[in-house]
Symmetry: C3
Subunit: 138 residues, 3 copies
């Protein structure tokens, strides 16, 4: 069995940002030398998510509007968590987006469908965050 | 280490459909010969989800009503993605349902609880879609 | 390749409860002897979820309020599933929280970020439920 681990670092300019990390996951898989296996892409912070969806700017704005509607940032005081904090909504938004993904490795490559793109979604940015990549396989 | 890969194909008759694929995942696990491991069940399209829940027709209708309430199809023009498209809601609905699942293999069998059933949820059907099954283990 | 399996049992006192199981997952990983791999933490029941987020009591109350707003328990009769049942909302809530998690094992330890804590979220408690832990790796 082979395994590989890498940590990506992010410090996004805005409170909320959506960063396409597909190339970085693909490079990690290639360099791992794993031919068949699984790769976990997991944010190590609880106000961010990794998700798979479309790299289309209109849809990314739709996601952002929708997340803000279902888990609004304001009023900040509506959340019990927001005592000396203002990021309770970020904890909720990351659950809505599904937190993390596991992706297949086939014939040494990330085995994605035609439109699947891997995104890092930041909901409480302007600080240093990490994502762990962990691959195992043959 | 053993590994196995299979692609399931779907072309559902309606825009939204819920297809129980438990038998197909179980058959895949059995044929893989893996005794202990993990199996990823991942839709390769970004307007569909794989989820685990109850095979009860009332609940499936409840899910459908609820998804339509939280991420409505209409008005189509409310979404920026819908320029020459009408499936923005499908991208959102699939995130609500959690996108994908990873399931345990124990003693050569899919290790499910008494009511756990694996579903393919289609939110933009009437076209050809694929789900990848990827198992690794011993 | 190494593998390990364990079943945790819960019978929570309330309909909805949030139980921090980080210590139990960490102990399981240590005892598995696996140095590099993945661990799946999966509820075997479809009215519960396993999620990763903050162990802060205000936030847990925020989650509970928010889940009740997006997938309310009442009116019970609003759900088609609730014929001789009253737990349809629990099936929906568990999807919102993301159902399950897969976590990395690095150097023999659960590889979590500074605030990542693993929770068992019960949405239809006062009965016996199980969570399966399945680790594979080297």
């Amino acid at each position: 069995m082979k395994h590989a681990t890498e940590y990506l670092t992010f410090e996004t300019p805005h409170r909320r940002d959506y960063v396409n990390i597909t190339d970085r996951v693909e490079a990690f898989v290639r360099e791992s030398g794993i031919q068949h296996g699984l790769v976990l892409v997991n944010p190590m912070h609880i106000t961010a998510a990794v998700y798979v969806n479309d790299a289309e700017s209109g849809l990314i704005q739709d996601f952002d509007d929708w997340l803000e509607r279902l888990a609004p940032h304001e009023p900040v005081s509506a959340y019990r968590h927001n005592v000396g904090e203002d990021n309770a909504d970020a904890h909720l938004k990351r659950q809505l987006m599904g937190h993390q993904v596991v992706l297949p490795i086939t014939d040494g490559r990330l085995d994605l469908g035609p439109w699947e793109q891997v995104f890092y979604a930041e909901f409480d940015g302007r600080r240093r965050k990490r994502v762990v990549l962990k691959a195992i396989g043959d």
